[in-house]
């Protein structure tokens, strides 16, 4: 890259017009790319955050509702019939999967009770894993942006400072008026990186804790339900 071009691209930026747009516009294209990328990351982070918040709230409410129905004394067959019609999530899915396995074992041409207990537990484990996977989806994006965002921003800053130093060398003028705009626009990249990374890290920690909590709740329900089914199996025999 020609130093004269750098000088021309940086020098017109005087300290008088340091608006956000001019900061972006006078930056080197690599810095621009970094800035745009980080902005997109920030948008993505907030989209995931909104999505996850809604999802976790909905899941928690569904769990509360299901637990209420489950412990209300309603017969399990009835509950199964009402739930199996529509696709369900989390605790409902767990219950439906276990019940389906139960029914299949008893309503088939030959009853296979021998390994029923083990089968039901396996089915519930798989369902829990699937549910957790659903809750955890895209959380890795938050983690990645949270950890890599500052570095990407720093890269833009370093690049911007490099070009501004090139412009200093080209103009043979070290006055602050020449140096400052380049450094300001370079630091802008780091600022955007931090703007993207800080919410990402915070949301990641929050959602990771939430996933943990819900997974434990599912495990607890699975243990409880498998105990109930185990007693039923023993009674039937």
């Amino acid at each position: 890259m020609n130093p004269a071009d750098v000088a021309q691209s940086v020098l017109p930026l005087t300290s008088s017009d340091l608006s956000l747009f001019t900061l972006f516009w006078h930056a080197h294209w690599i810095v621009k790319l970094v800035m745009i990328g980080l902005l997109v990351c920030s948008v993505w982070v907030w989209a995931i955050a909104i999505d996850k918040t809604v999802l976790f709230n909905r899941t928690r409410r569904a769990m509360d509702r299901f637990e209420q129905a489950f412990w209300s004394g309603q017969s399990l067959d009835e509950l199964y019939r009402s739930l199996s019609a529509k696709p369900s999530h989390s605790m409902e899915a767990l219950f439906v999967a276990a019940m389906r396995e139960w029914k299949r074992s008893f309503e088939g041409p030959q009853r296979s009770i021998a390994g029923l207990q083990m089968r039901i537990e396996k089915v519930m484990q798989v369902t829990i894993a699937r549910e957790i996977e659903r809750l955890e989806r895209r959380l890795l994006v938050l983690a990645t942006i949270g950890s890599a965002g500052p570095f990407v921003g720093l890269f833009g800053t370093v690049w911007g400072i490099m070009t501004s130093f090139q412009s200093i060398a080209a103009s043979k003028n070290t006055s602050l008026a020449v140096v400052a705009p380049g450094i300001a626009e370079a630091l802008f990249a780091t600022a955007i990186g931090l703007v993207a990374a800080i919410p990402a890290t915070i949301f990641y920690n929050k959602f990771a804790g939430e996933v943990n909590k819900q997974a434990q709740r599912l495990e607890g329900f699975a243990d409880e339900f498998s105990a109930i089914l185990s007693r039923q199996i023993d009674d039937r025999e």
């Binding site: 608006s19 907030w46 989209a47 909104i50």
Partner: protein, 305 residues
């Protein structure tokens, strides 16, 4: 899908924040006046030593201005001599004119008793009373001539030595005065200036010559740094006036060998033609140090500088 609405919300949020930032984020220009550049010259040692050399054909300044350290309008020294007040001297004479007044009431007093005396020979108590005040008036009359004496006792003291003390109020330690202009006239070398001294090239030449001739005894290089300072007195033609004096004291075979080698070097080296005769005063006497450690980097000690 759920994710799509979430990303749309997020995008809208970012757009709003960016718009707000674009509107509000403006760099206020800091008002900083450009600093005047401070010119700095880099001088070599030789240039520096030649810088203060006086020039004999320098143009003479038409009026040597006084050396001042501050620019200021010259203040006239205040005349603080005690004012001789002539009014006080006049005062006693001015008081005199009222003196003739007292006799007037006396005449009235005297005139009044005459009239009752014509009408009634009875002694008038009023007349008597009027006569009585006459006595104190006469007393005052006698006292008044003494008054002018009192002011004459205090003649205005005019002490010449006191006036001198008042006049010379400047601090005796100050060595420069204020004036209307800084003296910019080039001087022909100040007392402390390095005028007409040996230039660095002359010193270098002398040192190179002595170092080339100096043949320190074998083993001296390995020993600890031994310095031998020798005072050399030159004649005008560059030869030695007297034999080199060894200023460093020491003992031992090695020291003696070293000292002898240094003396030998000085003796062999003459005449030292690299020293210009027109600077004779500055190289008339030179203390030169032979150092084993800094054999090739030593700096001669110059005496009469």
């Amino acid at each position: 899908m759920q994710m799509r609405t979430a990303s749309m919300i997020s995008t809208g949020l970012h757009a709003a924040v960016l718009l707000f930032a674009v509107v509000t984020f403006t760099g206020k220009s800091l008002e900083a006046t450009p600093v005047e550049a401070l010119p700095v010259d880099l001088l070599s040692e030789k240039e520096f030593s030649e810088m203060t050399k006086g020039v004999k054909d320098a143009p003479k300044p038409d009026k040597p201005k006084p050396l001042v350290e501050k620019i200021d309008t010259p203040k006239p020294v205040e005349q603080q001599a005690p004012k001789i007040d002539t009014k006080k001297e006049i005062a006693p004479t001015a008081e005199k004119p009222p003196e003739p007044k007292p006799p007037e009431p006396k005449k009235e007093a005297k005139a009044e008793p005459e009239k009752p005396a014509q009408e009634t020979p009875k002694p008038d108590p009023i007349a008597e009373k009027l006569k009585q005040p006459d006595k104190p008036k006469q007393e005052t009359k006698t006292e008044q001539p003494k008054k002018p004496d009192k002011p004459e006792k205090k003649p205005p003291k005019f002490d010449a030595s006191k006036i001198a003390a008042l006049l010379d109020k400047r601090d005796p330690t100050r060595n420069a005065a204020t004036g209307s202009e800084l003296s910019s006239s080039p001087s022909l070398g100040t007392a402390s200036g390095l005028a007409a001294q040996l230039s660095q090239s002359e010193i270098d030449a002398l040192r190179a010559r002595l170092m080339a001739l100096w043949n320190p005894p074998v083993g001296a290089q390995d020993a600890n740094s031994v310095q031998i300072t020798i005072r050399i007195r030159f004649k005008r033609d560059g030869t030695l006036e007297i034999g080199p004096q060894v200023l460093t004291s020491g003992s031992g075979v090695q020291f003696n060998a070293m000292r002898d080698s240094a003396v030998r070097a000085v003796l062999v080296g003459q005449p030292y033609t690299m020293l210009r005769p027109d600077h004779y005063d500055s190289w008339k006497e030179i203390d030169f140090t032979f150092d084993t450690k800094e054999m090739f980097h030593d700096i001669p000690v110059r005496r009469p500088l």
